[in-house]
Amino acid sequence: MIFSVHVEVRLRPGIADPQGSTIERALPTLGFDGVKGVRVGKSIRFDIDAADESAARAEADDLCRRFLTNPVIEDAVIHVEAGAAAGATS
């Protein structure tokens, strides 16, 4: 069965995010006021072929821990859904 997975990789709370702060600092000069707390992470989508949802989730978890993130500074939020992602091409 195919599952579509979405992983959001985020810097752990307290870890500095220079990119986010730089974007935040630039916003007022672009005319955007009132934006705060900008944090930039990665968003990774893929399809996974697994026996059932819990197997898909387990593989996605493992993939995040071992490959997609470094748990020392990042954590990941994982969403698994049945069915291939629309328009997933590579």
């Binding site: 990119q19 730089t22 630039a26 672009l30």
Partner: protein, 218 residues
């Protein structure tokens, strides 16, 4: 004849001093233009040099293109003034909409600082008018996001209008159609990923960049 050349400095630019040195070699009178100023200071040509304007955060050129100086550069370009974007400068020009397309991460997903061979495809631009058509130039590249991308329609148009001015002989980064440099419809705005200022001395390995830089002030 254009001699006064303005080299734009954003916070995070780093090739501006090299540009001054190289432009002086081809007889220009180069000066720096500050990103926060709303003017091109009456110069005869503008160069946006390499580096990491605003850290390249978000996307290369994404923040820089909002700088006050960029409005003046756009106006200068619209009036036919020569504008050349090198590496990060090319990225800024595409973000600013002064050149078509976008620059993505290199195919190999690595930063690449390496020698490259460029073929002069068109001498009809302010960057190539003093070069020889078909000549192969040794000019180094130095970028992570140099993989030129555009939609099929744009590519067809660039080809039809002979606006691909430089191509890689051996494509290092995955750029569509081996594109190393393109110009706008008016042929007065040119962007390229390689660094001609790094090919201006025998001691440093090549002088092939001089022909390109000379064109700017020809």
């Amino acid at each position: 004849m254009s001699r006064r050349v303005g080299v734009v400095v954003f916070p995070g630019s780093n090739c501006e001093q090299d540009m001054l040195e190289a432009m002086a070699l081809v007889g220009a009178e180069p000066e720096l233009l500050w990103h926060g100023d709303e003017t091109t200071n009456g110069v005869d040509a503008v160069i946006i040099p390499g580096g990491f304007a605003h850290g390249d955060y978000l996307r290369p050129g994404a923040i820089a293109r909002f700088s006050p100086v960029m409005a003046a550069v756009a106006e200068f370009a619209a009036a036919g003034g020569p504008v050349v974007g090198i590496c990060n400068g090319f990225q800024v020009l595409t973000e600013a909409g002064l050149l078509p397309g976008a620059l993505q991460k290199n195919r190999g997903l690595k930063f690449l600082c390496a020698p490259a061979e460029l073929r002069v495809e068109s001498t009809d631009s302010i960057l190539t008018r003093s070069a020889e058509a078909g000549a192969v130039l040794q000019v180094p590249i130095n970028h992570f996001e140099g993989n030129y991308t555009c939609d099929a329609e744009t590519l067809a148009q660039l080809r039809d209008e002979n606006r691909i001015v430089l191509r890689y002989v051996d494509n290092p980064n995955g750029s569509v159609d081996d594109i190393a440099g393109v110009c706008n419809a008016g042929r007065n705005v040119v962007g390229l990923m390689p660094h001609p200022e790094r090919a201006t001395s025998e001691l440093l390995g090549s002088t092939d960049g001089l022909a390109l830089l000379r064109s700017i002030v020809a």
